[in-house]
């Protein structure tokens, strides 16, 4: 396969640390988690009372949480997408709070929670003329969307694709994860020996992906390159990660092959790292299998929670920031690394020497695995 030419020329995010990439980056490097007690709705019946919520959002009062987050991104900064950009929206539950609002307050229309409505609103907000597509592959939605954008560019279907991703912390989602017994009682601690579940988080993010030739022609700053990707399915269980990690191993090998590089070229891994016992063990098993030597691994989810459909894009943007800063971030909330993660994960940030290529892994319900290689 030829070397790909999909580059990222603009990106930004809103997370529980605030608006902007630097807010998230600096928050993570401070070691302070943005997961805190959730006051948005009553959590007393649930497994946990903690989440990483964006401050200042209004809940069940008109605009959905995700539209408010995109308002912070698109209305308050200078970014505007080229009008001819294709548009991909990645989300799991989008504006599900509109359905909640109908049931809980009698206002609105449950049908407006259909993501096609969000797609239309966002394409207008972002200023693109394309009606767009939704990609939903559970918690790997936005990494699959980035892969699709890169594929569209590689195949000549477009030379400019805007990828947006979002999910909010709502009672619908929170109660569901609680019913699955997936939540940590306080803040998640990925790859820790004592980890006991995930923390939900919310985020909105975008990335403008272009062909390298168009980016150069328009004299755009190239923030990073999507060098390769791999997508796979475990085909074994709806909610439980594979006990053999074979699906993720296949996804990582596909990504390395499509980037035309070997495992030795990867400088660090941004892992899905939810903080559940089984997910993190599944990922470490895959990394042990693919990589001949220990390399730095981190998870952002102890810091900003699991942002569901937005996770892959947020984590890709952070990985690009890490490459730019030549710094591998720490894993927030890590105290004692589990035995299989010893020497891979760290409580402290450290300098990235030499290799300028990162691997981002994500996974989701239905056995979905994604791996992206960026440089």
């Amino acid at each position: 396969m030829n070397k790909l030419e999909a580059v990222i020329v603009a990106c930004d995010m809103v997370t529980s640390y605030g608006t902007g990439i630097n807010a998230c980056w600096n928050g993570m490097l401070s070691g302070r988690t943005a997961v805190s007690r959730l006051r948005r709705f009553n959590t007393s019946a649930f497994q946990s009372g903690y989440a990483a919520a964006v401050e200042g959002l209004k809940y069940l009062k008109g605009d959905s949480l995700v539209m408010q987050m995109f308002g912070l991104l698109f209305e308050n900064n200078s970014f505007s997408a080229p009008e001819d950009a294709k548009f991909i929206l990645a989300t799991t539950k989008g504006e599900i709070d509109l359905l909640e609002e109908k049931f809980l307050t009698g206002k609105g229309d449950s049908g407006k929670s259909n993501p096609l409505h969000l797609l239309k609103k966002l394409s207008t907000l972002a200023g693109v003329s394309d009606s767009g597509i939704i990609i939903s592959t559970a918690c790997a939605s936005s990494s699959a969307a980035l892969a699709q954008a890169a594929s569209m560019i590689k195949n000549g279907r477009s030379d400019c694709v805007l990828v947006a991703a979002c999910d909010g912390v709502t009672e619908f989602i929170y109660s569901g994860f609680s019913s699955l017994m997936a939540l940590d009682k306080s803040a998640a601690s990925p790859f820790d020996k004592e980890r006991s579940g995930l923390s939900l988080g919310e985020a909105a993010a975008y990335a403008l992906v272009m062909s390298e030739s168009r980016a150069k022609k328009e004299k755009r700053k190239i923030i990073g390159r999507i060098a390769g990707w791999g997508l796979s399915n475990d085909a074994s269980h709806m909610t439980g990660p594979s006990r053999t990690s074979d699906g993720l191993i296949r996804a990582v090998n596909k990504a390395l092959n499509s980037a035309c590089i070997g495992e030795g070229s990867i400088g660090f891994i941004s892992a899905h790292g939810t903080g559940t016992v089984y997910n993190d063990a599944m990922e470490m098993r895959a990394f042990h299998s693919v990589f001949k030597k220990k390399i730095p691994v981190y998870s952002v989810k102890g810091a900003i929670g699991h942002t569901l459909g937005a996770a892959g894009l947020v984590e890709t943007i952070i990985a690009l920031k890490a490459l730019e800063e030549k710094t591998v971030p720490l894993t927030v909330n890590l105290k004692t690394a589990d035995y299989d993660a010893e020497g891979w994960v760290s409580r402290n940030p450290h300098t990235l020497a030499g290799k300028q290529t990162a691997l981002i892994t994500n996974a989701g319900f239905s056995g979905i695995n994604t791996a992206l290689v960026v440089e």
Binding site: S110, L119, I133, L231
Partner: protein, 220 residues
């Protein structure tokens, strides 16, 4: 070149396989759930716990695989992509009403799982052993044409060697098997572009099936 090797479909009364020229009316002989023993070539564990959309997709997928003469006793390098225009709204309503009925204290994980629009595809991937990419997508474009475009690109980019592409509504589903192959030979149903020409007309499901059937008979 991408070719279509089989098409399976099901609605409230009938199901069928296009290449095999098979159409069965099941309304009077078996209930919807009772079809599982007829349609699946090996037992589907806990089929009863699936939501309606998952059952429709899995039935149509089994019929499409049968139509393409593909055995699914082993896991295989095939992806799955699906679309509809309602997302998971029915499952969302079911889950949240159930949760509210409990006094907002208890929710059911088995209902929550199906509030992800990708979950019906996940059920199919597990039963049929599909290890390639799994995508739910939606757009305002003609649904089947849109997913066939994405599926074809994935095959041509060597992301997977075959794709199962499906579209459903509340009451019906159709699935197609797409694979790369040479033009010569007659083991495939038709070329992808022929199907695209049909699916881009935005016809109702029954008419789509008629056109597919006519296609098989060589009348288009």
């Amino acid at each position: 070149m991408i070719n279509i090797f089989g098409i399976g479909w099901i609605d409230n009364e009938e199901y069928g396989c296009i290449a095999a020229g098979e159409k069965v009316n099941y309304k009077d002989s078996a209930g919807f759930d009772g079809l599982s023993k007829r349609i699946f070539s090996h037992p589907f564990k806990n089929f009863g716990r699936l939501d309606k959309t998952s059952k429709l997709i899995c039935y149509a997928a089994a019929l499409a695989l049968k139509d393409a003469c593909i055995n699914y006793s082993q896991k295989q390098d095939m992806g799955i992509i699906g679309t509809n225009d309602s997302g998971s709204l029915e499952s969302d309503l079911l889950y949240f009403k159930d949760y509210l009925d409990s006094g907002r204290t208890l929710s059911r994980g088995n209902l929550f799982i199906y509030t992800l629009p990708s979950s019906p595809l996940g059920e199919a991937a597990i039963h049929f052993g599909l290890q390639g990419p799994l995508f739910y997508t939606a757009s305002r474009r003609k649904p089947l044409s849109a997913i066939m475009e994405m599926a074809s690109e994935m095959i041509l980019s060597d992301e997977t060697s075959a794709m199962l592409a499906g579209v459903n509504s509340d009451e019906n589903a159709v699935c197609l098997i797409l694979k790369k192959s040479a033009v010569s030979g007659n083991n495939f149903l038709c070329h992808e572009s022929t199907i695209k020409a049909i699916t881009s007309k935005d016809l109702a499901f029954k008419y789509l099936i008629k056109e597919f059937s006519a296609l098989r008979k060589g009348s288009i």
